[in-house]
Every structure is written in structure tokens, then in C-alpha cells.
């Protein structure tokens, strides 16, 4: 009778209260992972125990709870601390080049391979006989 009551009294609350809405909390946590802790070396605010990171986490949760979009939260931090704070490079201007070049490379590679294969395309090829069960070399 008494025991659960004592347990309740002893129950600790987390230092940083997660947001009640799990979707918002997930968004906040993903934002914490992509913003740099400015007083640490190469760490996101999600990991750091530094005061600055604690403040940043609180700020992110507050803004998300108040309905800010991911972009608005990022812009807030970038306008305060500069582009350096964001592990996500900007998606405009030269940034598009950075984001786009892997896909351009893949497309270019596919076109190049395709052209080579079509140019040398023989009439009809047969599969190499199925001998995969023989001892390999």
C-alpha cells in the first residue's frame, strides 16, 4: 500500500523533458543531431553535455513546440552562429552543386555505360553455360 507511493516519490524526472507529442519530439531530436555544438570539437548538440548544447536543445524544443518548421529552426541558428553551425549544407546556389553532383555522376555514368554497350552491341549473345557449381578458381 505504501510501497508504490514511496516509489512514486522517488521517481526521477528526466533533466530535459521530451516534448509530449512524439512526432514533434522526433523532429526536435533530428534537428539536434544536425546542429553543431559551438564550444565542442565536432560534436552535434544532441550529444554534448556543454551548457551551450543544453540551451540549444531547450531552444529547439521550444521552437518546435511553438510550431516552427525545421527550416525556421535551422535558419534561426544559422543567422545567430553562421553557416558553420549547420551540419546540413545549404541547398541553394553552390550548395545545389554539392547536393546534386552525386546524382549527376550516376546519371552521367549510366549514360556513358549505356552508350558504350549500345555502340558495341553484338547481334545476339548467349549466356555463359551455367557451371556455377563447379569448383571455383
Amino acid at each position: 500500500m505504501i510501497a508504490p507511493l514511496i516509489a512514486l516519490l522517488l521517481q526521477a524526472q528526466p533533466l530535459e523533458q521530451p516534448l509530449p507529442d512524439p512526432v514533434q519530439e522526433a523532429r526536435a531530436q533530428s534537428l539536434m543531431r544536425e546542429l553543431r555544438c559551438m564550444v565542442c570539437e565536432n560534436e552535434p548538440v544532441s550529444q554534448s553535455t556543454a551548457d551551450m548544447a543544453v540551451d540549444a536543445r531547450r531552444m529547439i524544443r521550444k521552437q518546435v513546440a511553438e510550431g516552427a518548421t525545421d527550416g525556421q529552426v535551422r535558419d534561426f541558428f544559422v543567422s545567430r552562429y553562421g553557416q558553420y553551425v549547420a551540419f546540413r549544407p545549404p541547398m541553394d546556389g553552390w550548395g545545389m552543386l554539392l547536393w546534386g553532383f552525386p546524382f549527376v555522376l550516376v546519371l552521367g555514368g549510366l549514360v556513358w555505360i549505356g552508350l558504350r554497350l549500345v555502340r558495341n552491341r553484338p547481334k545476339a549473345l548467349d549466356p555463359v553455360p551455367d557451371d556455377r557449381n563447379a569448383e571455383g578458381d
Binding site: G109, N120, D130
Partner: protein, 667 residues
């Protein structure tokens, strides 16, 4: 005396490597071989003297004084020998000369071996010159201190003590692949025989690199105290780039070996893999980075490393540009074929390597341009991290793995797509069902569903492939499948497990920090944690604050004891987390600081890392598969008569030569 002996031995190794290189390139085959073995022995003995200096705490050697301490346990005194810039460079030299010696003792005689030994000798000479004239580990100091400064406590850990040797076995292993590529280009023979003889070296180096990277990730996971295992830190990326290129290489070598195709692309990858290893070493060792990993900082050394990289890469690419046009094109193949699938594998792996390279180097280049005042300070300070790498790499991995089961099932030269797709329908169904189930459990995250989808697809695809290869032979046939088949299967299952583990862990890890006083209870994910207070415990060379936490789950209780260690010698601390393994993942408890305003109340960070063992276990299986493939080669090499294999022509005819049967057999 012993340090001077080590210094002398390093010079002897340099001399032997000069001879190895000269005779190897000019046709003095036997002399080159003996000198290669001698260089490796001198280098190894030199490393041994350095280890003895570290074990005996000879503080008159500058390096020992700077990195060791009388209170340090024996294991870390030994590991201290390579836990610093100079010592690790000596280890690099030892491994490089060692690969030369192994090649000298095991490779079949012929032009390829001699010239490869010659090129390897050149690389060894370069490494020793850098070691002896820019970063000698044997420098004495006149006024030895009473005790040493100690090793960075973060590095006093078994995983990270073994991390550099494995990483270097991988990085430097690429040097011999490079030497074989250069030798093949000089000889003008990049053919099936060349590929057959190069592939074991590539497989070995790649597998070692896999283990080295995994050890680093495991260390980060439990030692840095926040439970992350990969943060796209430039130093991590530095080892990931050569890994990706080497992964492409071990696959393109299959095409060159079995079909004689893709020869110039294969040799290009062999060159690039080692250049990226050098670039990685430059990034880590030059101090161009500021990150937790970059312990050594000295710009002068960086410049020399960069020049070495430029010379090596420039010479090799020049050789490539000169010789590659003379290489014979391989036999034709239809886009829908095993060749076609492996071409796609190489496309996605090399674009992945390129994007990791660009993402890693761009911020440094921008910073440098900013310092030269060529661009504005705002434009110069850019960070590229997790969001970029996840969002660009994920599609590459998706396509890569999508084609994997097709590559395993398709015959060489020409495949029929419709029967292949039909045959793989069970894999498709299982993968889709698993992905939907995972998303239903894990909150409908796109990343989560995608990771489970491709991971399960690959694993079930491997299962179907094994099933078909066993055919009517059933289980007894299955276990007698060639070792190469099993190597491929295990490595591919490893990739599947890794992708599932990595996406689930990233999407579903949870963590909270609680302020706990004695007797207080924290609850998380159905676990109860009762904090019982802290006590001070003495370690060999540290003092620990150890917390007692009773963790209860499903009626079972056990004691978890996370620690904070403080190393008086270096005035630094480390976090030792307590990890409780469960079938579905790790419960991870770290002890933080005491609250400033409340004595006896400590910050306790509790996290749940689902499927984390799949991440490390998957990496382990990838390496195991690579080694199994390598072992298969070694076992079969013996009966091949020396003369016949060397004179074999590339297969351009319709019938594959009988000894090369077992096309599907390679991972």
C-alpha cells in the same frame, strides 16, 4: 643503446628497400627477393626495439617520455609504441616492408612479381625517408624526465590499441595492390592472370580495413560516452573512402579475372585505392583537421605527406594514362548480365567514394580559400555532416543493394530478366513484408522502412542463391559449396545485417538524462534504474568514480556500474559506460557530472541502442567473408603449374576455359 640500435635497424631497412627496388625494377630477381625479406626483418626488429623502449620506460627517448608513464599497464605501454605519430609511422613502414616480404616469399616467379617488388620497394623507401628524416621515433633527449607524460587516456582501451595495426594492415595493404597495378601497367599485362594474382591482396587489405574501421566505431560507441558509433567525422571518412574504392575493386577484379573485362577500370581503382589511403593518412597525420581524432598536429609534416601523395598519385596516374589505351578490351556482354550488374556495383560504389571525398574535403578547401581572402568568411565556414551523407549515400546504397541478388543469380555475358525477377519474387515479398512490419512497429519512418527493405532483400536473396546452388544435392551439397561461394554469401549477409542494424539503430535509439540521488528511480522503456550512490575505486593509473545502479526488467535485477575515470598524470578523464546486452539491443548507462547545486545527485544518461550488435556483427561478417574468399585462393594456388597459368590468354572465346569454371563462385 637500444634506441640507437633501433635507429640503425631502420636505416638498414631503408638500405635494403633501396636495393629491393633497384634490383626488382632492373631484373635482379633473386637479390630483390632476399632484400625484400631483409628489409621487413630489419623493420620489424626496429619496431621491436621501440616497443622495448616503451616497455622499459626509457624516458631518455623523447617519444617514450611524451607518451608513456610508469603507472601505465603493460598492454598500453606496448600499444603506446604506435599510439603516436612517429611510432605509428614506423608501424606503417614495418607493414609496408612486410607485405613486400610476404609477396617475395609467396608469389610465383615472373616479371609481375619482380616489378611489383620493385615498386613496393620504392614506396617503402619513401616511407622510411619520411620516418627517418622528418619523424624519427628514436630521438634522444639530454635531460630525461623522472617520469613520462602518459598516453591520452581515451586511447587506453583494448579496441583502440588494436585499431591502428588493423587500419594500417588495410591502408598499407593497398600499397601492394598499387604495386601490382603499377607492375602490370609497366609490363603492359593487365589480364586475367594479373587479376587472379592481384585479387587475394585486394581481398586481404579490404578485410583488414573493414576490421580496423569497425574497431574504431566500437571504441567510439562505448568509450566516448554518447553511444554514437559513426559521426561522419573527417577522420572516419578518411578510412571510409579507400574502403569504398577497395570494395569496388574486389568486385571489378572478378570481372577481370573471370572474363578479362574492365581491365583498365580495375587497374585505375587499384591506383586510386592506395592514393585515398595516402590521402587519409595525410588528413589524419597533418593536423589539417580539428577533430577528436587528430591527435598529431604538425603542418611541416603535412606538407611533405602531401608532396609524397602528389608524387605517388601523379606517377601512377601518368603511367596509367600512358599504358591504359594499350590494354585489350574485354569480351562483349549484354547490359543484362552478371558483368552488367557488377558494372552498376562499381558505378554506385565509386560515386559513393566520390561524394564522401567531396563532402570531407570541401569544408577544408573553403576554409583555406577563406584564409587566403579569396572568398568571404561566411562562404568559408561551411560544415558538411550527417544530413548530407545520409541523404546522398542512402540512394546509392539502395541501388547498390537492389542489384546485388540479380548479380548473384545472373549468368555471365547474357541474362534473361523476366525469369530472374520471377525467381526472386520470394525475396521481394519477404523484404516488403518485413519493411512494412518494421515501419508499423517503429513509427512509419521512411529511413527505417527503406533500410529494412534493402537489408532483408539482400539477406533473403543470398539465401535463395545458396539454395539454388545446392540444387538437388540438398544440405550435404550446401555445406560442400566452394569456399568462395560461402565467402561471398557471408559478406553479403553481413552487408544486409549492417544496413538493417544501422538504420534501425539510427531511427529508434532513445536516450534520456536523469538527475538521480541515492535511492531514486528512473524509468525508461520498461526498465527501472535504481541509483544507489557512487564510490571511489582505485585503478592501475586512474581513480574511478563508480556508480551502483540496480537495473530491473521483467522481474530480473542486476547491477550496472558505469564509471568516470580520472587520470592524474594527464589530468584528463574518460567515461566508462555500463552496457547490458539484450536480444534486441543494448541498454547503455553512462555516469555524468554531479549536479552543482545538489550534492549526491548525479546526471545519469540512459540510452537504448536497438540492434547495435547487428552493426558491428555485420561488419565482422563482411571481413570474415573477405578472408574466406582469400583463403579459397590460397588453398587452390598450390597445384597450379607455374608456366601454364602465366601464359593463359584472356578469354575472348565463347567457352570459358575449364579451370576457371565456377563463375558464380566469387564474392
Amino acid at each position: 643503446m637500444i634506441a640507437e640500435l633501433g635507429h640503425l635497424l631502420a636505416f638498414l631497412a631503408l638500405g635494403a628497400a633501396i636495393g629491393q627496388s633497384f634490383f626488382g625494377l632492373t631484373g635482379g630477381s633473386e637479390t630483390s627477393r632476399r632484400l625484400a625479406v631483409a628489409a621487413a626483418m630489419f623493420a620489424a626488429l626496429s619496431m621491436l626495439t621501440l616497443i622495448i623502449c616503451f616497455v622499459r620506460l626509457d624516458f631518455s627517448v623523447e617519444l617514450v617520455a611524451a607518451h608513456s608513464h610508469s603507472q601505465k599497464p603493460l598492454l598500453y605501454r606496448i600499444a603506446g609504441a604506435w599510439g603516436n605519430h612517429e611510432g605509428s609511422m614506423l608501424l606503417w613502414c614495418v607493414i609496408m616492408a612486410g607485405y613486400g616480404a610476404v609477396a617475395a616469399l609467396t608469389m610465383r616467379e615472373g616479371k609481375l612479381r619482380d616489378r611489383a617488388l620493385g615498386v613496393q620497394g620504392l614506396l617503402t623507401v619513401g616511407s622510411f625517408v619520411y620516418l627517418l628524416f622528418v619523424s624519427s621515433p628514436f630521438t634522444r633527449q639530454l635531460d630525461p624526465p623522472f617520469d613520462g607524460a602518459g598516453l591520452n587516456p581515451l586511447l587506453q582501451d583494448p579496441a583502440v590499441a588494436l585499431h591502428p595495426p588493423f587500419l594500417y594492415l588495410g591502408y598499407v595493404g593497398m600499397s601492394f595492390v598499387f604495386s601490382l597495378a603499377a607492375a602490370g601497367l609497366i609490363n603492359g599485362e593487365i589480364d586475367r592472370d594479373w587479376a587472379r594474382r592481384t585479387r587475394p591482396w585486394a581481398l586481404g587489405a579490404w578485410s583488414f580495413l573493414t576490421i580496423g574501421i569497425a574497431l574504431g566505431a566500437i571504441w567510439a560507441y562505448y568509450e566516448l560516452g554518447w553511444g554514437g558509433w559513426w559521426f561522419w567525422d573527417p577522420v572516419e571518412n578518411a578510412s571510409f573512402m579507400p574502403w569504398l574504392v577497395a570494395a569496388a575493386l574486389v568486385h571489378s577484379l572478378i570481372v577481370t579475372e573471370k572474363r578479362g573485362g574492365m581491365a583498365s577500370w580495375t587497374v585505375f581503382l587499384a591506383v586510386v585505392a592506395f592514393c585515398l589511403s595516402l590521402l587519409g593518412t595525410f588528413l589524419v597525420r597533418s593536423g589539417v583537421l580539428t577533430s577528436v581524432h587528430a591527435f598529431a598536429t604538425d603542418p611541416a609534416r603535412g606538407t611533405i605527406l602531401l608532396i609524397g601523395l602528389g608524387l605517388t598519385g601523379g606517377a601512377a596516374l601518368g603511367l596509367f594514362a600512358w599504358r591504359a589505351p594499350t590494354l585489350k578490351p574485354g569480351p562483349e556482354f549484354d547490359p543484362v548480365s552478371r558483368e552488367g550488374a557488377l558494372v552498376l556495383n562499381n558505378l554506385f560504389l565509386s560515386v559513393s567514394a566520390a561524394l564522401v571525398l567531396v563532402g570531407t574535403v570541401t569544408p577544408m578547401v573553403l576554409q583555406w580559400l577563406g584564409e587566403l581572402k579569396l572568398i568571404s568568411p561566411e562562404a568559408a565556414s561551411m560544415s558538411i555532416g550527417e544530413p548530407y551523407f545520409h541523404m546522398t549515400l542512402a540512394p546509392m546504397v539502395a541501388f547498390l543493394l537492389l542489384f546485388m541478388p540479380f548479380a548473384q543469380a545472373a549468368p555471365w555475358r547474357k541474362a534473361e530478366l523476366t525469369p530472374l525477377v520471377k525467381w526472386l519474387i520470394p525475396s521481394i515479398i519477404v523484404a516488403v513484408v518485413a519493411a512494412i512490419a518494421a515501419m508499423a512497429m517503429g513509427g512509419w519512418g521512411i529511413f527505417l522502412g527503406y533500410g529494412v527493405l534493402v537489408g532483408v532483400w539482400v539477406i533473403v536473396g543470398v539465401g535463395q542463391d545458396l539454395w539454388r546452388r545446392a540444387g538437388a544435392g540438398g544440405f550435404s551439397r550446401l555445406i560442400r559449396l566452394p569456399l568462395t561461394v560461402w565467402g561471398m554469401a557471408i559478406a553479403h549477409i553481413g552487408i544486409g545485417l549492417f544496413v538493417i542494424g544501422a538504420t534501425v539503430e539510427t531511427a529508434a535509439r532513445t536516450e534520456q538524462t536523469f538527475p538521480l540521488g541515492p535511492g531514486q528511480i528512473a524509468e525508461m522503456n520498461g526498465w527501472q534504474f535504481e541509483f544507489q550512490g557512487v564510490k571511489m575505486v582505485d585503478g592501475p593509473n586512474y581513480v574511478a568514480t563508480r556508480a551502483d545502479i540496480l537495473a530491473t526488467h521483467d522481474g530480473r535485477t542486476e547491477l550496472l556500474q558505469p564509471e568516470q575515470r580520472s587520470y592524474p598524470v594527464s589530468a584528463m578523464g574518460t567515461t566508462e559506460v555500463a552496457i547490458r546486452k539484450t536480444p534486441t539491443g543494448d541498454v547503455y548507462v553512462a555516469l555524468g557530472d554531479q549536479l552543482r547545486d545538489q550534492a549526491g545527485v548525479w546526471r545519469i544518461r540512459i540510452a537504448h541502442h536497438p540492434l547495435i550488435d547487428w552493426v558491428f556483427g555485420g561488419a565482422g561478417l563482411i571481413a570474415l567473408g573477405g578472408f574466406m574468399s582469400l583463403a579459397a585462393r590460397l588453398r587452390r594456388r598450390a597445384p597450379a603449374p607455374a608456366g601454364t597459368a602465366a601464359s593463359e590468354k584472356p578469354a575472348s572465346s565463347d567457352k570459358p576455359a575449364t579451370p576457371e569454371a565456377g563463375v558464380g563462385a566469387s564474392a
